[in-house]
Amino acid sequence: MTSGLFSKFNRVGAWVLLLFLVTPALIAIPVSLTPKRFLSMPKGELSLRHFQKLFTSEEWLSSFFQSGVIAVSTSLLATFLGTLCAIGLWRVSSKYSELMRAFLLLPLIIPQIISAMAFYRLWIPLGLLDSYAGLILAHTILAAPMVLITVSASLATFDPKLEQASKNLGASNWTTMRLVILPSIKPGVFAGALFAFILSWDEIVVTLFISKYTVYTLPRRMWNGIRENTDPTVAAAAVVLIAITLIAFVIFSIMSRRNDKSEAP
């Protein structure tokens, strides 16, 4: 279509909207630099005391550590289970496997509050409330669909003839999987692992229900800080989170660009 007045107007509008999406989050940066003891915009003087507090406070550091442990474990477990499952669904590819795929995607779309209820309900009798295992299992179930999606997308471009060739040349199922299938779906597996990590690292609704004292993740501590709405350490934590998001995003972009290049004919 020719680019008319409407199109140009709309493009300007779209840029304004996109800036509206990103900029509000940046307000955490000035607030985190305030020299005052309460949440405020700094006037003139800047101070790093809230960052200092963030990185010396035992509570915040333990939350960083706990969130890290839970997110890494979730990412590994979800990637392992999700990748196996995606390959299985791809191999079977029947009416039933498509139904199963739709079923396994449900945790991603069912409202989180309902998932939280479900885990809370079952974790009580299983004694998993407020434990690492409980959080990792719950987050894995929520994150595995992500891996399923990214790995399935990679598998969709994989040539099944390569698998047949490998088998004809005498490789076992396991060897074929390890040496032929896995290397060619690597981008999907890595993307899935990254998404699973972020999902767990950020998860708050389910965490609010199934953790209490022993496990106090970073989102949980931020949630508390936001509800109390006084301590500027929350702003410093928010800045650290934004920085981590941006780093993860850059890694992801570089990775996918490299893949695009290697895939291009």
């Binding site: 509008g13 779209a14 209820m117």
Partner: protein, 282 residues
């Protein structure tokens, strides 16, 4: 074993671990909750009857539905505009736009909610600026009311609205629009009569996706509503964590779940579900 593998594809063996885990640890308790909605505190439909009797409950459900509808309308309209601009500009500009969209998509919900808290409060940056330039004398109440919840939710949902629309617009055959122009239609006519109907599947998918996600939204309404705007998700959490009443909460969850599954079913008629989420994952 031979007979077994003849009937069941060996692929199911590696599907099984995740499948069994989701069935046992997720589907199980969800079914249990549905069961609770008709058995707790006593067997029967008493929980569902509350929906007709209790004014407070009706108000909560109505608030939720109303906020979700308004959020969806704004997010999808604004999302359509963004997606349209992205499809109709140069690759380079499109990449920049996509970067901004994905960065906002990736920034933690807690960080964004915290930012809105700083911006919209009585002494927040927005009110402060408006007062300084003399536009307003009294601070505007952006928070602890539906306006604040709507701002926060629309801001969160826009990227979700854009992604299915983008998938749908990118797969259009642009020659159809050229044909329409060649046959004498104006660009406005072409947009309303050709372009919009052709992107309808994406529009439906995007609308339902945003509506579903809004329904169970917890964080933003709880913080920006400040206890004044009670939505279903927050009500459920209070019922379970404070008053320990499973019956009513289970009933609300059952209704929400039925609604979500019905909408998913409609959505699957218009678009392959994995494409919608696949778009979201990229």
């Amino acid at each position: 074993m031979q007979a077994f593998t003849r009937h069941i594809h060996p692929g199911w063996l590696i599907i099984a671990p995740l499948m069994l885990m989701v069935i046992a640890l997720y589907l199980g308790p969800i079914l249990n909750i549905l069961w609770l909605s008709v058995t707790d505190p006593e067997p029967g439909l008493s929980n569902y009857a509350k929906l007709a009797e209790s004014d407070a409950l009706i108000r909560i459900v109505w608030t939720t539905v109303r906020i979700c509808i308004i959020t969806t309308m704004f997010s999808v309209t604004l999302g359509y505009s963004i997606a349209y601009a992205m499809v109709h500009c140069h690759q380079r500009q499109k990449n920049y736009m996509l970067t901004l969209l994905l960065v906002s998509f990736w920034i933690s919900i807690l960080v964004r909610t915290f930012s809105w808290l700083m911006l919209l409060g009585r002494k927040g940056l927005v009110n402060g600026t408006l007062e300084n330039i003399g536009l307003i004398a009294e601070p505007i109440a952006f928070m602890r009311n539906e306006l604040g919840v709507l701002i926060g939710m629309v801001h969160y949902m826009i990227p979700y609205a854009v992604l299915p629309l983008l998938v749908s617009m990118q797969s259009l055959d642009t020659r159809v629009m050229d044909a329409s122009r060649n046959l004498g239609a104006s660009s406005t006519q072409t947009f309303w009569r050709i372009y919009l109907p052709l992107t309808l599947p994406g529009l439906v998918a995007s609308t339902l996706l945003v509506f579903i996600l809004s329904l169970g939204f917890y964080v933003t309404p709880a913080v920006l509503g400040g206890g004044k705007v009670l939505m279903v998700a927050e009500y459920i959490s209070v019922q379970l964590l404070v008053t320990l009443k499973w019956g009513t909460a289970a009933m609300l969850a059952a209704i929400m779940l039925t609604g979500v599954l019905a909408m998913l079913w409609i959505m699957s008629r218009f678009m392959k579900l994995s494409t919608v989420f696949g778009g979201a994952a990229r």
